[in-house]
Subunit: 265 residues, 2 copies
Amino acid sequence: MTLDHGDPGDAPSVPPPLTAVANAARPSAAEEARTVAAATNTGTLASLTADGAPWASFVTYGLLEGQPVLCVSRMAEHGRNLLADPRASIAVVAPDAPADPLAGARVTLAGVVEAPTGAEAEAAREAHLAAVPAAKYYIDYSDFTLWVLRVRRVRWVGGYGRMDSASAQEYAAAAPDPVIPNARRAVAHLNDDHADALLAMTRVFGGYPDATAATCERADRYGLDLRVTTPRGMVVTRVGYFSPIDSIGELRSATVELTRRAREA
Amino acid sequence: MTLDHGDPGDAPSVPPPLTAVANAARPSAAEEARTVAAATNTGTLASLTADGAPWASFVTYGLLEGQPVLCVSRMAEHGRNLLADPRASIAVVAPDAPADPLAGARVTLAGVVEAPTGAEAEAAREAHLAAVPAAKYYIDYSDFTLWVLRVRRVRWVGGYGRMDSASAQEYAAAAPDPVIPNARRAVAHLNDDHADALLAMTRVFGGYPDATAATCERADRYGLDLRVTTPRGMVVTRVGYFSPIDSIGELRSATVELTRRAREA
């Protein structure tokens, strides 16, 4: 049996919201991509071999205003590839992948590499060393080249059914989310000790007045992703804060306000 | 200051062995590559966009006699890429990477993808599902294609200064190492409780009679990688078993024999 991707047939149906979702604000694809890129220092480079075939290779990187800074040897295949053709892309997978790998976040940054010069060369060197301390042992060897990937195109995948593209301009202008990488403990605390509050905000602001349970899956600067149980089935919804936050330290007051207003409603 | 890669200048010098290394047998590049490929179910695909640029993207895979089996949607960029040009490579990083990411093992498998037919299509489907259980939810959707990467070229990197290529024939004929993925606990036990035995075998069989300490870094089917302290500096050497082993269960007798013969020497 074959099925259209959009028509899963025997897959469980997703219950629609019964009331409007009050505030569905969430990070843009560009912000999500900046967040993934900033979360680690390793990725996989795709470069072109002499005969134009695609070559995947593990690399380390730092970031200069979101642009990956690579330090690779001309003695390595990918180093020779980049010297001959600057077209490249890098795939980065967010750390702490879930058990189902395709449920996790990843990003592809595509463009061309350039050897930075002048002040940018120094900044790129510092950016690489800050992210990859062991590079101090080889970054000054004459066979190593520092490359900045000029990002022309961005593809972000947040998991099943969550994906979008971002332009070079959007990516350059975005900032990494300041909450996502620091929210693990706070999210666990919300789930362990404030299940009633999550349920209240889901019923009032999340579009599911018939919710019987709600678990927080992620907190970011705009709000919470909530996995909701209803008599009609499971669904994921969104509860945005009353205003965006700039640090993990503001998460408590943002969720306290959501809870208070939900209980007053 | 720039330096030749081969002439690290201020890097610590590596003391040469004082006696012959008795048995330096170790896995071939093809065996190492098969071992890395078999150790996980995720990698990064490099494919070609419509204009021939390299595109890196996260993928899951199973293995059919060492060949990666992908299951990707035509709705995804990499799916469209493979349909238009079958040239592809996949980079796989061994799990449990060390703190310094470039000290870990990784492999690039390059070739062309083919849609398997007949009995191979069924075997490829089973291989993918065995490695990626969640694929059962989408593998039969009509927009998904099963691809087998026909491996034409293999590049293995085992860490700093350890790398080699393998031919398609060597890769196809090799088997994953049966000891490496299962040896973590046994290696810790050797280091915790048998440091004297490791030191004895290093002095007699490892080429360093002046060793003052030896730590096991890895066990594979052919022997042990040992990090050795000498008055002349630190070095990594090799102590091979008297005969290769086929399972982790044989590691104890192989190392007991090495210890006994070292103490008799």
